[in-house]
């Protein structure tokens, strides 16, 4: 087993409360030591990374990615997607099940998680909550959980029926993982391709209302309450990519009530508004859509006050021919693995004054604690040897043409970023050097 010494950096590890100059020794795939500078001799490790002037933190964790395999390797493969993840400072990603076929079986999930996929970061999977993500019959939660599922979701669409969602929350609670919900009342959003409002009206596009998102969140919270009372279970609802002020308020109240609700926000929903659609720019088309400025500010408020548990990318690669089409027909989603950290640093740390440790919590400690098995998202001795080394003060701009993702569907080409990833170490091996 290889060993790496990351020397002279400022270790910021929110999970263990460390923010100090430390040398980090990785050995046998684990964190073997976090010591005062100079305490570990260079020859203690086979490789030394000089982190003077840099920040050393737990590898980032993204609980919401689409790596498109099996079935859509022309958009992305697990190999290319995880290369992009490593370049973005991530060491763990959670794959959504809307593959072809849908990941609703132990076999498909085992194929996705296999070392043969050539991943350069850790892979986790959330299989479908219902067979074929058709919203009717639950998948085999116990078998999938035993095979490594870290949650259940029909992402891309919601679990719409009350009874089915209730059963999913109960079954997931019994195996100790969350149901991760794409909150969209699809009965209200047929034919819609952006946020409802004056801009959609002007562009002649049908719009998704905030109610279509908030309605499902409200319903799911009611189900949690009912299940806690009736079943003596404590189900965990994770609300994916919150985009509206209305839904954020509902989540804030549910947390205050003591229900087990967590949520994620994407960088694009705290960075951009519907104005980015401009003249039908399909790189600003995603689901949930970019919303109004009041919603964007509500995402920031939720991030600042702790209502939001984590930042997730919803990395959704699509080929050029799926985006270079009529807006209403264009595929939903953008890539995000290489831009998430730089945007979070710029918008939240630099722009909003969020402490660095908080940014890192939102991108590693918190998502790891909510979704991953123990040992991730921390640099405490004995944790996984997953580390990101970055220059916190370095401004840079994203060059889409140099993206490691197989697809180039991002609205952030040329966008200003802060915090340059210098090295990503995953399972004690260097996965990326910048």
């Amino acid at each position: 087993m290889s060993s790496i010494l990351i020397r002279g950096g400022r270790v910021v590890d929110p999970a263990s409360g460390v923010d100090a100059l430390r040398d980090v020794l990785l050995k046998g795939g684990r964190v073997a030591g976090v010591e005062k500078p100079g305490a570990v001799r260079d020859d203690a490790a086979e490789e030394v990374i000089d982190a003077a002037g840099l920040v050393v933190a737990p590898g980032l964790v993204d609980v919401h990615v689409h790596l498109r395999e099996p079935g859509q390797g022309y958009k992305e493969t697990i190999r290319t997607g995880t290369a992009a993840a490593a370049a973005g400072g991530f060491t763990s990603v959670v794959m959504m099940p809307n593959t072809m076929p849908i990941n609703d079986s132990v076999e498909t999930m085992a194929w996705m998680l296999s070392p043969d996929r050539g991943a350069s970061v850790r892979l986790f999977a959330m299989p479908a909550a219902t067979v074929g993500s058709m919203g009717r019959e639950l998948t085999d939660f116990p078998a999938l959980r035993s095979a490594g599922a870290v949650g259940f979701t029909d992402d891309g669409k919601p679990v719409l029926e009350d009874a089915v969602m209730r059963a999913a929350l109960v079954a997931a609670a019994r195996v100790g993982v969350p149901v991760s919900q794409h909150a969209e009342d699809t009965r209200l959003t047929g034919g819609c391709s952006m946020n409802a409002g004056a801009l959609a009206f002007r562009l002649g596009l049908r719009g998704m209302t905030a109610e279509a998102e908030a309605g499902i969140v409200e319903r799911d919270i009611r189900l949690l309450r009912e299940i806690e009372l009736a079943e003596k279970l404590r189900p965990h609802l994770h609300v994916q990519h919150v985009s509206t002020a209305k839904a954020m308020d509902l989540i804030r109240s549910a947390k205050a009530e003591g229900l087990h609700v967590t949520c994620e926000v994407t960088p694009h929903h705290f960075m951009l508004t519907e104005e980015a659609v401009g003249e039908y720019d399909t790189h600003a088309k995603m689901n949930p859509p970019l919303r109004a400025e009041t919603d964007r500010l509500a995402m920031i408020a939720g991030l600042m006050d702790g209502t939001v548990d984590c930042i997730a990318t919803d990395h959704a690669p699509h080929a050029a021919h799926e985006k270079e089409v009529e807006f209403e027909r264009a595929a939903n989603g953008i890539t995000g693995l290489e831009t998430a950290f730089g945007l979070a640093m710029r918008v939240l740390h630099q722009g909003q004054g969020m402490p660095l440790a908080r940014v890192l919590s939102l991108m590693s400690a918190n998502p790891a604690r909510l979704i991953l098995p123990p040992g991730h998202g921390s640099l405490a001795v004995g944790s996984m040897a997953d580390v990101v080394v970055f220059d916190a003060g370095a401004p840079w701009s994203f060059e889409l043409g140099r993206s490691r993702s197989k697809s180039k569907n991002s609205p952030f080409d040329g966008a200003a970023m802060l915090g340059r990833v210098k090295a990503t170490v995953c399972a004690g091996k260097v996965a990326f050097r910048g």
Binding site: A196, L205, E279, Y280, H283, E328, G414
Partner: protein, 323 residues
């Protein structure tokens, strides 16, 4: 903070007309002046202006007025036209709009006139083909040549036609235009509502909430919603009626008897002196009564003739010719 689309600074070929919002008042004046010059020119001279130039008409939706009018306009200027419709081309085989545009360009088309059922399609075609594109109606978005011909029709009527020369941001000062009916689905309504106030007009949008959401007042300054049709008519010098677009209703339910009662333009509620317009196709007996459509205050047929002149001007502009 909201400017991520900026690196993709959109470049359209000069002479394109995708949205009325891309036109300055001076450009509008130039187009209308050109329309008048072309109209007054001898047919022989006119037919030299675009002699040998190639114009493609690409139609993904049925059309009578717009297609014929653009085609006749191009022919009167001497251009060669070719018509491609979705029903009889490789579009049926699944060819994308981008590839269709590139194919037309490779075949020598110098300008594409596009009618399409998706909002923003004209913008996509202009971006991908790099040719000048004239938007002949894209989904529910815009129909700019219609708004220009409507403007020309209005200028010919209001004040006895005294305002039709020297078009400027005050040309329609004091004029209120009521646009009534299915605003939600109407590209004509959007183009007119965004164009007319820039020449000084006030636009009153009229219709039931299902067909006229409050968001419509956000189309720009000078726009107001007046749900009571009679009150709108009392304030207006011009009234523009719209068809209910059954093909785009998508589940919306409209009580037609109630609609007719509240919003049909019939002689008993039409004040004297108000100019009646309709972009067509009309559904007589629904949004408009026969006696009004055919009556003395109707400028509906005249709109069609103005269409020819305006579209000639747009073609000359698109192809960078002089007249």
């Amino acid at each position: 903070m909201t400017a991520a689309a900026e690196p993709y600074a959109i470049q359209y070929a000069e002479g394109s007309l995708l949205s009325v919002t891309h036109l300055t008042a001076a450009e509008v004046a130039g187009i209308l002046a050109m329309a008048t010059r072309l109209e007054q020119m001898s047919p022989a001279k006119r037919s030299q202006i675009l002699a040998g130039r190639r114009v493609a008409l690409l139609f993904y939706e049925s059309s009578t007025r717009t297609r014929t009018s653009f085609e006749l306009a191009a022919k009167q200027l001497g251009a060669t036209t070719t018509l491609i419709s979705d029903k009889s081309s490789s579009i049926e085989k699944g060819e994308s709009l981008k590839d269709t545009g590139l194919t037309l360009r490779a075949l020598g088309a110098e300008c594409i006139i596009l009618r399409h059922n998706a909002s923003g399609a004209a913008s996509l075609l202009a971006k991908t083909s790099k040719l000048p594109v004239l938007n002949a109606g894209d989904g529910m978005h815009e129909h700019p040549s219609q708004a220009l011909l409507d403007l020309r029709t209005m200028l010919a009527h209001v004040d006895g036609g005294r305002r039709k020369t020297d078009v400027n941001p005050r040309s329609l000062d004091g004029i209120a235009v009521a646009i009534c009916g299915d605003i939600l689905h109407s590209r004509v309504a959007r183009s007119n509502t965004m164009l007319l106030p820039r020449l000084g007009a006030k636009v009153l949008l009229c219709g039931p909430p299902a067909l006229l959401p409050e968001w419509a007042s956000g189309l720009g300054p000078g726009v107001a919603i007046e749900r009571d049709f009679d009150r709108a008519l009392q304030q207006a010098q011009v009234v523009m009626m719209l068809r209910i677009q059954k093909e785009r209703l998508a589940g919306l339910e409209v009580d037609l008897a109630d609609y007719v009662e509240r919003y049909q333009l019939r002689s008993e509620r039409l004040p004297a002196g108000v100019v009646v317009m309709h972009p067509g196709p009309m559904i007589r007996g629904l949004e408009i009564a026969d006696e009004v459509a055919d009556g003395p205050q109707s400028a509906i047929e005249e709109q069609v003739s103005h269409g020819l002149a305006v579209r000639m001007a747009l073609l000359v502009r698109a192809l960078g010719a002089h007249a």
